[in-house]
Amino acid sequence: MVNLELDAEQLEVAELGRQLGLEVLSPVAREAEERRGVPEGVWRTLFETGLTVPVPEELGGAGIGDTVTLMVALENLSYGDPGIVFAAYSSGVAAMLLARHGGPERAALVRGLTSDPTARGAVALYEGQGRGAAEFATVIHTTDDGRIRVRGHKTAVAFGADADPLVVVGTDERSGAVRAVLVPRDTDGITVKAYDGGLALDAARTAAMSFDVTVPAENLLDAEDLLTTLGRIRLGVAAIALGTAWRAIDYAAEYATERVAFGRPIAAFQGVSFPLAEAQMRITQARLETLDLAARLHDPDAADLTAAISRLLAHVGETAAEATRAAVQTLGGHGFIAEHPVELWYRSAMALSALDFDPLCSSFTPAL
C-alpha cells in the first residue's frame, strides 16, 4: 500500500537530527574542516545519540533499524553540516557491517565501537576512478592453506590511517560474489596514503589504501545479505548530499528575500527565484527516490538494487551540486567568501558526488 508518511519514531529521529545538525554541528563546521577532525565534544554528543551508528540496542547502538529511518537521520543531521556527518557515518557503518555480518564472535568489536567515542572503524569500500561501485577490482580469494588473501586499492577510506576495526570489501575471485573481510591493522601488506585534505569533507581524514594481505579464514564475514548492507551504506551518502542541498537552498531563499537590488528583494526576480524553485523540485524527488530505495532495500522480493543505487547516486550528485551552486549564485560575490556557509556546502556536495560515481549512470551535460 502506498504510504509516504513517516512514522512516529522516524519523525522523532528527524526532529532530533535537525536540532543536532543546526545547534551542534553547524556551529563547528568550519572548525572541523580546518582542524581536519570533529571537535571531541561534538563527536561525543553526536555519538551518544547513536544516529550515525546504526546498530541494534543489544550491541550498544541506538537501534536505528530500518534504512528509511537511517536516511531521515542523515538528511537532517546534514542539514547542519555534511562534513561532520560523513565522518561519523563512515565510522558508524563499520560497526553496522560487523553487527550484521560479523556473527557473535564480533560482538565485542561492535561494542567497542558503540561504547567508546574515541574509537574509529572503517569500511574500505570505494575504488574511485569512475568505476561502478559493485564491480570491485579488489579481489579476495582463499589460498591453498585455507587462508584469505585480499589484494586491491581503495580510496576515500575515512580515518584510513588509524581506523580499527577495518573491513575491506571486494570480489571473490572465483564466484564473482561480493565479500567483506576483517583486516587487523597490524597485518602485513597494508599501505596507507592519507590525503593531505581536499576539496571538502576533511574532518573524515580520508586516505587511499592498498592491500596485499593474508588473514585467517574466520576473518571472512558472513556474506548473506551483504549487498543489502552495502546498498545501505551507499544510500547514506545520498541522504547526506540531499540534506546539504536542502539547507543550501533554504539559506539562499532567506537571503533572497532580504537582499535588495533594483528596488526589490532579489527573490522578486524569477531569474533568482526559479533556479531555487527548480532545485527544490529536484531535491524533493531525489529525496523521494532515496526513501523509496531505502524502503525497498528491506523488501525480500525486491530485485538487487545495486544498479538502482548507482543511478540514484549519480542523480543525487548532480542534483546537490547544482542546488548548492544555485545557492552560491543567489548570494553572488557573498557566495564565494567564507563569511557565508554556502561555499562550504558547494564544495561538500561536489566531494560527495565523486565518492561513488559510475560513468554509465549519467552523462556530462553542458549548462547551455
Binding site: 502506498v2 504510504n3 528575500t257 524569477q270 527565484s273 523521494l288 523509496d292
Partner: protein
C-alpha cells in the same frame, strides 16, 4: 505503517488490467481519433470491453471508480497513467467535463442540487469557460462581461480552449460583473446549451495534439441567462455571490495538476516501451558499443519517469491525508511534463526517421504530450508556486 511507494495488490492489479486493456483495445484507435479530431465512432462499445470499472460518466449505472486502501487521489494516478498508456482519446469520453465540479465548489446548496448532482453518473457533460484569447494564466484579465438586466444576466465575450464547449449540457462561464473590481468582480455563470446568444465559434480548435479532445471556441453575443444562474448567489444577498469566482475556479483545478503530469508519464512510458521493443528487434543493426549506449539511455529514461511518478504520488498522498500542499502539487505537475517530452523525443531519435513517421504513434504522442506542460498551469506557473512556498509572496 511503513514508508512505501508500492501499491496495494488490488490497486496494482487494477493498474495492470487497465494498462493491458488500454494498450490492446484503445491504442488501435489512436490514429483514427487523431485524424478524425474526435474519439472513434464506436467508443462506447470499446469502453464496454474494459475489464475494470473506469468510473464512466457517459453510462449511467456503470460501476464507479473502485476504492483502494491506498487512498482516492493516489489511486486515481493509476487510472490516469494506465489509461493514457493506451492513448489519450478515452479520457475525453469517460469524463463528464469539469463544469459541474465548479458548481460543486462554488454553488449554493440549491445550485449544487440543481446542477451538480444530476450530472454525477448521468452521462451529462459539462464545460468550463475561463480562458480568453488575450490571457491564459492571468485570470484577473477576464474581459467577458455579465450585465444584470432585470431577471437576466447578459453575457458578452469570447472564450477559448473550452473542453466539451460545443457539446456540453451547460458551460460554467467566468465573466466580470464589474471591471473596476478587477479579479474580485469575476463571477461564474451557468450557461445552458442553447441559451440565446450562445454561439459555438469553433467546435474543435485546430490543435497540434490531443485533437480528439473537443475544445471549443465559444462566443457570447448578448447571451441571456436567468439571474439565478450566477454561482454562489442565493437570491437574498443583493447580487453579490458568496465567493470570488477566481478562487473557486483555481481550487477546482489544483488537485488535478498531478493527474495531468501523470497522463504525460503514461504517454511517455508507452513511447519508451514501444521503442524498447522495436530496438530489441533491430538489435543486430547496432554495434555493441551503440547497443550499450542505447541500453543506458533506456534505463535513464525509465528512471526519469519513475521520478515523475514519485513526485505526483507525493502530492496526491498529502491530498488524501487532508494535508493538501500547493507546493507539492506544483512539484507534482511541474516536474514531469517537460521530461516526458524529452523522453518521447529521444525515443524518436533512437528510432530514426521512421520514429517520426505515421507508421508509429510516437509522433502523435509527442504532439499530445505537449499540452501537459501548458494547461492547468505551465511549468513557469508551477515554479512560481514552488518559489512562493520557499520564499513567500515576495517571490517574483
Amino acid at each position: 505503517m511503513t514508508f512505501s511507494f508500492t501499491p496495494s495488490k488490488p490497486l496494482a492489479d487494477y493498474a495492470r488490467a487497465l494498462r493491458d486493456w488500454s494498450a490492446s483495445e484503445c491504442r488501435p484507435y489512436a490514429r483514427e481519433a487523431d485524424d478524425r479530431h474526435a474519439p472513434p465512432e464506436n467508443w462506447r462499445e470499446i469502453l464496454d470491453t474494459a475489464p475494470v470499472p473506469l468510473g464512466r460518466h457517459d453510462k449511467p449505472g456503470s460501476d464507479p471508480f473502485p476504492e483502494f486502501e491506498d487512498g482516492y487521489w493516489v489511486s486515481r494516478l493509476a487510472y490516469y497513467e494506465n489509461l493514457a498508456y493506451g492513448d489519450i482519446w478515452p479520457f475525453h469520453t469517460i469524463g463528464s467535463g469539469i463544469g459541474h465540479r465548479v458548481v460543486q465548489a462554488m454553488g449554493t446548496p440549491e445550485q449544487i442540487e440543481k446542477w451538480y448532482e444530476p450530472v454525477v453518473g448521468s452521462g451529462l457533460v459539462t464545460a468550463f469557460a475561463l480562458t480568453e484569447p488575450h490571457f491564459g494564466s492571468d485570470t484577473s484579465q477576464v474581459a467577458t462581461t455579465a450585465v444584470r438586466d432585470g431577471d437576466s444576466w447578459v453575457l458578452n465575450g469570447t472564450k477559448i480552449f473550452c473542453t466539451n464547449g460545443a457539446v456540453a449540457d451547460y458551460t460554467v462561464v467566468f465573466a466580470t460583473t464589474d471591471k473596476t473590481l478587477g479579479a474580485k468582480g469575476i463571477n461564474a455563470f451557468v450557461v445552458p446549451k442553447g441559451a440565446p446568444g450562445f454561439v459555438v465559434g469553433k467546435v474543435n480548435e485546430h490543435k497540434m495534439g490531443i485533437r480528439s479532445w473537443v475544445t471549443s471556441e465559444l462566443v457570447f453575443a448578448d447571451c441571456r441567462i436567468p439571474v439565478e444562474n450566477i454561482l454562489g448567489w442565493s437570491g437574498d444577498d443583493q447580487g453579490r455571490p458568496r465567493r470570488g469566482g477566481q478562487a473557486g475556479a483555481l481550487s477546482a483545478l489544483a488537485s488535478n495538476r498531478p493527474n495531468i503530469a501523470t497522463m504525460g508519464i503514461g504517454i511517455a512510458q508507452a513511447s519508451l516501451d514501444v521503442t524498447s521493443r522495436l530496438l530489441a528487434e533491430q538489435r543486430a543493426g547496432f554495434s555493441p558499443r551503440r547497443w550499450s549506449a542505447v541500453q543506458d539511455e533506456l534505463a535513464a529514461m525509465n528512471q526519469a519517469l519513475q521520478r515523475g511518478r514519485r513526485a505526483a504520488h507525493w502530492a496526491q498522498f498529502l491530498l488524501d491525508r487532508g494535508g493538501s500542499d500547493r507546493s507539492a502539487a506544483a512539484i507534482g505537475k511541474g516536474y514531469a511534463p517537460h521530461t516526458c517530452e524529452r523522453v518521447i523525443r529521444r525515443c524518436m531519435q533512437l528510432l530514426g526517421p521512421e520514429g517520426t513517421s505515421r507508421e508509429l504513434l510516437l509522433e502523435k504522442w509527442y504532439r499530445d504530450v505537449k499540452i501537459m506542460d501548458i494547461f492547468e498551469g505551465s511549468g513557469q506557473v508551477q515554479r512560481l508556486i514552488v518559489a512562493r512556498g520557499l520564499m513567500g509572496r515576495v517571490a517574483g
